[in-house]
């Protein structure tokens, strides 16, 4: 089977983001017998989000296992079995639950290779669902990607479209390093064209989602869709926004972001995670250092306000950055 390239995405049949991940899992499990899947309710139930539906029937209980609700054991299972040559894909269900098993992530998974002088190889994927908007409150709604991006040894991807979800999942499984695959809940049911065969989106490759000349909007996960909505309205005012989706946050494709800023001379970063210390701060700092002379205006950042995610619907909607916020921030920057 040949691997499809990005250029071939348009015109493919449309499936959802979740189905795209599921398809990548099926294809990679077919391709490589060392790939296995484990986590809470992943086998019999096919995951509470539906990510692993059909895998038990196809591959049997030796390749996909339901585990106890036991994040340390689940993530440890991945680390120890990866050290012994398997390619585990495990799920912590909600990214909020990494708090339970953070030592395994921070001190074991991320550091074994370096600490052991390079001998270890840790080809593993951790699935984690992120994002607010579902009334799930403070412990089931966070976006914690920046926390993970701050740890040398980890890789972090956060797709926004169905095609990228498939391509990045395939790349993550084939990667010889630990990868956090962050699924955004509000992207899960979105549909898009996805190649049917093997499809790889290399880690560390950003994508220009919309071309424009007036401002670069660097947006992640669901914020890509909010930024696209904002861009439509901005176009009505004659402002053409270019939208860059990094897709992979660690490693980060800085050259693609810089090239866009050098063209548009203005930049806004937007993510759902709290603004303070978010990935937008890192991107903004890199732009300031590398493309300062190209900037016609101060870089601006949008992100969640400094509070846990609230439960009550009006409060939660107020908390999440949306297309209006992006639109208004761009208008203010450009029109004053």
């Amino acid at each position: 089977m040949t691997t499809a390239t990005e250029a071939t995405v348009t015109g493919q049949r449309e499936i959802t983001y979740l189905q795209a991940i599921n398809e990548a899992l099926h294809q990679e499990m077919e391709r490589d017998p060392t790939v296995f899947v484990a986590g809470v309710d992943l086998a019999a139930r096919g995951d509470v989000f539906g990510t692993t539906r059909g895998i038990l029937a196809k591959f049997g209980s030796e390749r996909i296992m339901d585990t106890p609700i036991s994040e340390n054991a689940i993530v440890g299972l991945a680390v120890g079995s990866a050290l012994q040559g398997l390619r585990p894909v495990v799920s912590v269900m909600f990214i909020d639950f990494i708090g339970v098993c953070f030592d395994v992530i921070l001190n074991q998974m991320a550091k074994n290779k370096y600490m052991f002088g390079g001998k270890a190889r840790l080809p593993l994927v951790v699935l984690a669902n992120a994002g607010a908007g579902g009334g799930m409150a403070a412990q089931h709604s966070q976006s914690l990607e920046a926390l993970l991006c701050h740890i040398p040894g980890l890789k972090v991807v956060m797709p926004s479209s169905a095609a990228d979800a498939k391509g990045l999942m395939t790349a993550a499984i084939r990667e010889d390093n630990p990868v956090f695959f962050i699924q955004h809940k509000r992207c899960s049911r979105m549909r898009g064209p996805v190649p049917e065969g093997e499809y790889v989106v290399p880690l560390g490759s950003a994508k220009v989602v919309r071309e424009g000349r007036d401002i670069t909007i660097v947006a992640t996960a669901y914020m890509v869709h909010e930024a696209l909505a904002a861009a439509e309205r901005l176009a009505e005012r004659g402002i053409e926004a270019e939208i860059v989706d990094p897709r992979s946050l660690q490693p980060l494709d800085t050259p693609t972001i810089l090239a866009s800023v050098q063209k548009t001379h203005r930049v806004l970063t937007v993510h759902e995670a709290v603004q303070f210390g978010g990935i937008g701060a890192e991107i903004t700092a890199q732009i300031a250092a590398e493309a300062f002379d190209y900037l016609d205006a101060p870089p601006i950042r949008l992100g969640g306000p400094w509070s846990p995610v609230p439960y009550s619907q009006p409060l939660e909607q107020e908390w999440i950055v949306n297309a209006n916020d992006i639109h208004d921030a761009v208008v203010k920057l450009i029109e004053g």
């Binding site: 440890g76 120890g80 052991f116 890789k155």
Partner: protein, 326 residues
């Protein structure tokens, strides 16, 4: 305490045990002195006094079997076949060390002989041991993993989660608690309400045994049974080995808060002396040959220290290598 028994062990195995225990003791006392002289950086957690546990267990393992270790891990590494030259080079932070100087005392690993790393985090090893044992089951290769921890780790959540999953899935893993009765400076009585840590096995529906951790033969027997059980697909066993560390939590002696009479009493049950007694009684080892083993090991350790100290520091360009597999 049980009388040492030598059933099933031939003289070659017993002599290997003796030499390996002496090697660990000499390594640790030398490492302690180097730390006191500030010739090596950081902290060393010395295993002296606990040698019978690592050696008794690892005498049952093949190179393809795996272990996870602890911050007090030099003994496990030596018992599993680690090279003392590369270990000392690592303590010196040198390029020829096991981790090319990037890990140090608490992170020595040799994946080729199944040493999945010492670990600076109390309770860090058990989840990894579960993963390694799972891989053995998945590949159906008959391998087992031994998870060494101290008594302190049994109060960590990771330990309980690991035993539960290993028991549920009948994974080929043996959990060995080296109960030296102190977690850092706090006695066991200040850390948990049960005196017998092997009782915890009941919570997971697996066998739990307590053995005399100063008697290498007793440890060997208990571990052999547990390992056979694991290889047969019958799941994990919890072994608690009663033991004692001769030196302080880190380093050799300074500020050791443990009662002098307690320390002296444990020294009376020195694991190397106990084994020497058995070997002498059975005419496997004469006083003269015991002396010769000790001299040979001392020379080996001296040479290893020279090797380690003479090894170059890693190039500064190594700083950013091996963060990821390229």
């Amino acid at each position: 305490m049980t009388t040492p028994t030598t059933t099933q062990l031939d003289s070659e195995q017993l002599l290997w045990m003796y030499r390996t225990m002496v090697r660990i003791r000499e390594f640790e006392e030398a490492a302690g002195r180097l730390a006191e002289q500030a010739r090596i950086p950081g902290a060393v957690h010395l295993y002296a006094g606990e040698e019978a546990v690592a050696v008794g267990v690892c005498s049952n393992l093949d190179p393809e079997d795996t272990i996870t270790s602890t911050h007090r891990g030099h003994g496990h590494c030596i018992a599993k076949g680690g090279d003392v030259k590369r270990m000392f080079a690592e303590l010196f932070g040198k390029a020829d060390g096991y981790c090319h100087g990037k890990g140090g005392s608490m992170h020595i690993a040799d994946l080729e002989i199944g040493i999945l790393g010492a670990n600076g985090i109390v309770g860090g090893g058990p989840p990894i041991a579960v993963g390694s044992a799972f891989a053995a089951k998945y590949k159906k290769n008959g391998r087992v993993c031994v998870c060494f921890t101290g008594d302190g780790a049994t109060n960590e959540g990771t330990w309980h989660e690991s035993l539960n999953l290993a028991a549920l899935w009948k994974l080929p893993v043996i959990f060995v608690i080296e109960n030296n009765h102190y977690g850092e400076f706090t006695p066991q009585s200040g850390q948990g309400a049960i005196p017998r840590l092997s009782d915890r096995a009941a919570s997971y529906g697996i066998p739990g045994v307590t053995v005399d951790g100063q008697d290498v033969v007793a440890v060997n027997e208990a571990a052999r049974e547990a390992i056979a059980r694991a290889r047969a697909g019958d799941g994990p066993t919890l072994i608690e080995a009663d033991t004692y560390r001769y030196y302080n939590h880190t380093g050799m002696s300074e500020g050791d808060p443990r009662p002098a009479e307690e320390r002296a009493a444990w020294r009376e049950r020195d694991p190397i002396t106990i084994l020497r007694g058995v070997l002498t009684e059975q005419a496997i080892l004469s006083g003269e040959s015991a002396e010769r083993v000790e001299q040979e090991v001392r020379r080996e350790i001296e040479e290893a220290i020279k090797f380690g100290e003479a090894s170059p520091y890693p190039e500064l360009s190594e700083l950013l290598t091996d963060v990821y597999t390229e």
